[in-house]
Amino acid sequence: MHGEYKTPGGKLVRVDFDVVDEHLTDVVVSGDFFLYPEEALEAITQSLFGVSSTASESALAGRIGAAIPAGTEWLGSSPEALAIAVRRALTPESEVNA
């Protein structure tokens, strides 16, 4: 599954994953954002492994935000933006367009 979200005036975050037994696995987070230090991507990505596919946007954002090490600078994107991308990936097109 694939979802993406561009923060207005900021950058694009993309997420690819599979859902097994209603939980996220094989998560890859990518995009044209900036992240210092670079290793923080691992923590961000890991925070989504095993998450329920029914988790709300705010629950996702909270979980992602809590996993980001102190002192990390994420420019152009955010836990909230990634949470939107995840929800978009999980929402069928018909509902998005409705």
């Binding site: 694939h2 993406e4 950058k11 690819d16 420019l75």
Partner: protein
């Protein structure tokens, strides 16, 4: 949050630029992988004090796509089209977006500076800080250019370029690529530019948003490069240097161990 720190006054910013003996590395055509590795090597050396603060003008030996540090290959590149058109895929050390590069189509430079130079500036402010002299230089050529946060050089004729930064052991790497001439059909065949990326730009087509410098100045690429280098020299002082044999050997070694490996290029598949 760094946004709450009061901005460093312009006079203080100018003083910081003038407080170093800047070295210029003029353009020499290099393999894309060597260009990636040189940014790492030169940033680390400036951080260690082994080399003075430096500006490098890039030269390109061949066509390539330069992916940002956090981009996935399959999301950004049509790999088959890239292969068919002899477009190499490389990954740089800084974040930001993919660039399609043809040797005569882009103007790229790197600034390697001590981290103390951006003390008190937020990350966002530091982008505008490092490209301010280039915007000024373009304006003196009659291009209606300005800095568009976070990391773009924009103009009334369209986007001109984008910057990215990385930080390593006490040094900042700031590099910027500006479009000189665009091969739009080839770019669109090798890069995947989705609708979502353009969603807040108010436009529908990727080629309409770029304003290459050839179109805006009608000047040869080398003259534009000479002009922006001249602007830097006049404002802050600059002496011509070059890459040392040892630095080049380090870059070659890093291509072997890191930048040329599948593990690095396909870090995010």
């Amino acid at each position: 949050m760094s946004d709450e720190i009061s901005p460093v006054p312009i006079e203080e910013q100018e003083k910081r630029w003038k407080s170093y003996d800047w070295k210029l590395i003029p353009a020499v055509a290099q393999r894309p992988l060597i260009n990636m590795a040189l940014d790492e090597v030169l940033t680390v050396r400036v951080g260690r004090g082994d080399r003075p603060p430096t500006i490098r003008i890039w030269g390109w030996a061949n066509r390539c796509i330069v992916l940002g540090r956090f981009q996935s290959v399959k999301n950004e590149v049509d790999e088959l089209a890239a292969q068919e058109n002899g477009v190499e895929i490389v990954r740089r050390i800084s974040g930001g977006g993919a660039m399609f590069i043809e040797p005569e189509g882009a103007i790229t430079y790197s600034i390697y500076a001590p981290e103390e130079m951006v003390k008190g500036l937020s990350f966002s402010e530091s982008y505008a800080f490092f490209d301010g002299w280039v915007v000024e230089s373009l304006r003196s050529l009659g291009v209606d250019a300005w800095y568009a946060p976070l990391n773009d050089i924009a103009s009334s004729g369209g986007k001109i370029g984008g910057a990215a930064q990385a930080r390593r052991g006490g040094a900042v790497l700031h590099h910027t690529t500006m479009a000189y001439q665009m091969n739009v059909p080839l770019m669109l065949s090798v890069l995947r530019i989705g609708k979502e990326k353009l969603s807040d730009k108010g436009i529908t087509s990727a080629d309409k948003r770029v304003g290459p410098l050839r179109q805006q100045t009608e000047m040869p690429r080398e003259e534009i490069i000479d002009h922006i280098v001249g602007t830097f020299q006049d404002k802050y002082g600059l002496t011509v240097g070059g890459i040392t044999a040892e630095e080049m050997a380090d870059a070659e070694a890093l291509v072997e161990s890191r930048f040329g490996t599948r593990k690095w290029i396909y870090f995010l598949p």
